[in-house]
Subunit: 306 residues, 2 copies
């Protein structure tokens, strides 16, 4: 493996000719929290004009596809709902299509997940605040729901010991499916001194208590790409994955045999690419993007002459 | 390694002659939640009569030594406070004696930890309920305390995303000490279908978010035994560790070169010993107790003829 190449204006023709489909991570790539990264709506429009198919693949489990549509519209993007692949949707479709889900999901998750579950007629319980009461000995008097047939974990702002207790308790049944939307360790927050734990932090807590590993649906796992293939033509060697994180976006590209472009407007830095090159872990050493670019703003500027 | 020997009446003399000091885990060994395991107070008294030194070593971080004294007294044990080594105390003494602590600890923990911290003049912040408010973007407006100079994690019934956010944020400073009382994955709850997450579950969540590993003070780490040696004569080959968990109690015995006795009134089963024997992990394969016994009730009965 050699170091990633900078995507310069000189390399643009070669890059553009290499793909028909382009997958974009969203936060840290097209926007940072609620601020659009300059000119990225024009980039998406330009790519469509060039006959490219943009698709949007995000590990963020807090929003439904409908809520993403609203966010895209608000920030000036023209996107259709079937181009959006978020992990709230992935979880619902996994339960419905892969597990042929019956019963009820115990959901440590978000309103966005509830919305997708409703669309797929998946019953769920467990959402909203559920704080502990009484002493630890009293927690074991919590009524359990006998209809629960899966535990699904996503980002949950209301995480509590009571939720962890219920999740771990249901998971004592070794046949109970245990599904996680994603395992991102933290959320990218623009210009902040804060580190906000991601779904990965919550999943770790449940996994440790339950003594079991979750099945993870989000990037870097290939399920996202398999799902896209059911709806769109996706030829791996004619597809590029654009993202800001090596261990999710770029790793998905490697796992699914896609081309990869790292942008430096989010979590991973160029020094992280160097660290990966020198890592003792072979998975890290392979996780090197084909290209990197400072930002998609720059890519838009390059493409304006095309 | 061979399978553990059952501690029968025939082996009793050999066992008794092998130690001067006997370390007891508490929950699952001397009691189960709030119920004493029959005859264990008489066992402790008998051992004292025989000239043995009993000591009490627990990973439970929810109680101070004073609170443990109350629990021992209530259940009929005669124990002195300096014989109790609990992880709330370990955390306080580690900060005071090893770190020469200045500043303030950000404490994800219990009232028992607060009590021990006060005894050692350790300032702390962060205890009690601290639920999230507003949207994720608002969480980054939480005021941080510039005096915080360590993050200490124990069992916290009030765990919340806001606490995880603060802990992970302080830990972005690579020089910030990150201390965990213990990493037990769950609490032993008698006759319960519930699995209550232990401190290990909380520690995993913080470690994942922060991308750092905590320094763990409790069993199986040797710090507990090192601390005992400062207060009592403890000759490892004349000491036995009695516990209900292979990966904490028995592993501490192995790490500190003690004799070990597994009781079957708590978490680990005899089948877990067999699993360890067959494990591909060499640490597991070494973690086999010298002896096992159904319960300390039985040991008390055997000793009554002595």
């Amino acid at each position: 493996m050699s170091r990633a190449k900078e995507l310069t204006k000189q390399l643009l023709r070669q890059f553009v000719d290499s793909f028909d489909t382009i997958l974009f991570d969203c936060d840290g790539v097209l926007w940072q929290s609620n601020d659009v990264i300059s000119k990225t709506p024009a980039l998406i429009a330009k790519l469509r004009d060039m006959g490219k198919q943009p698709l949007f693949v995000t590990n963020n489990s807090t929003k439904s596809r409908r809520q993403y549509m609203e966010k895209f519209a608000k920030l000036g993007f023209k996107v259709s709902e079937n181009e959006i692949f978020c992990t709230a949707y992935l979880a619902a479709i996994y339960l419905r299509n892969i597990l042929n889900f019956q019963g009820k999901a115990y959901l440590i998750g978000s309103p966005g997940m509830q919305e997708e579950f409703k669309l797929f007629d998946i019953n769920y319980t467990g959402t909203g605040p559920d704080p502990v009461t009484g002493e630890v000995e009293d927690w074991v008097k919590i009524p359990l729901d006998p209809e629960v047939t899966a535990v699904v974990v996503g980002f949950d702002r209301d995480l509590s010991m009571r939720k962890l207790t219920k999740g771990a308790t249901y998971l004592q049944d070794p046949k109970m499916p245990f599904i996680a939307t994603n395992t991102d360790s933290c959320l990218p927050i623009k210009d902040s001194q804060f580190l906000i734990p991601g779904t990965g932090s919550i999943v770790s807590a449940v996994e440790t208590a339950a003594g079991r590993d979750a099945l993870v649906l989000g990037k870097p796992h290939k399920f996202m790409v398999d799902l896209i293939k059911e709806k769109f033509t996706l030829e791996p060697r004619r597809t590029v994955m654009v993202g800001d994180r090596l261990n999710t976006d770029i790793q998905l590209g490697k796992n699914a045999d896609l081309h990869t472009l790292l942008v430096l407007t989010g979590v991973s830095k160029l020094s992280d690419v160097d660290s990966n090159l020198e890592s003792s872990d072979p998975t890290d050493r392979e996780c090197i993007p084909d290209y990197y670019i400072e930002s998609l703003t720059k890519l838009t500027e390059y493409l304006s002459d095309f």
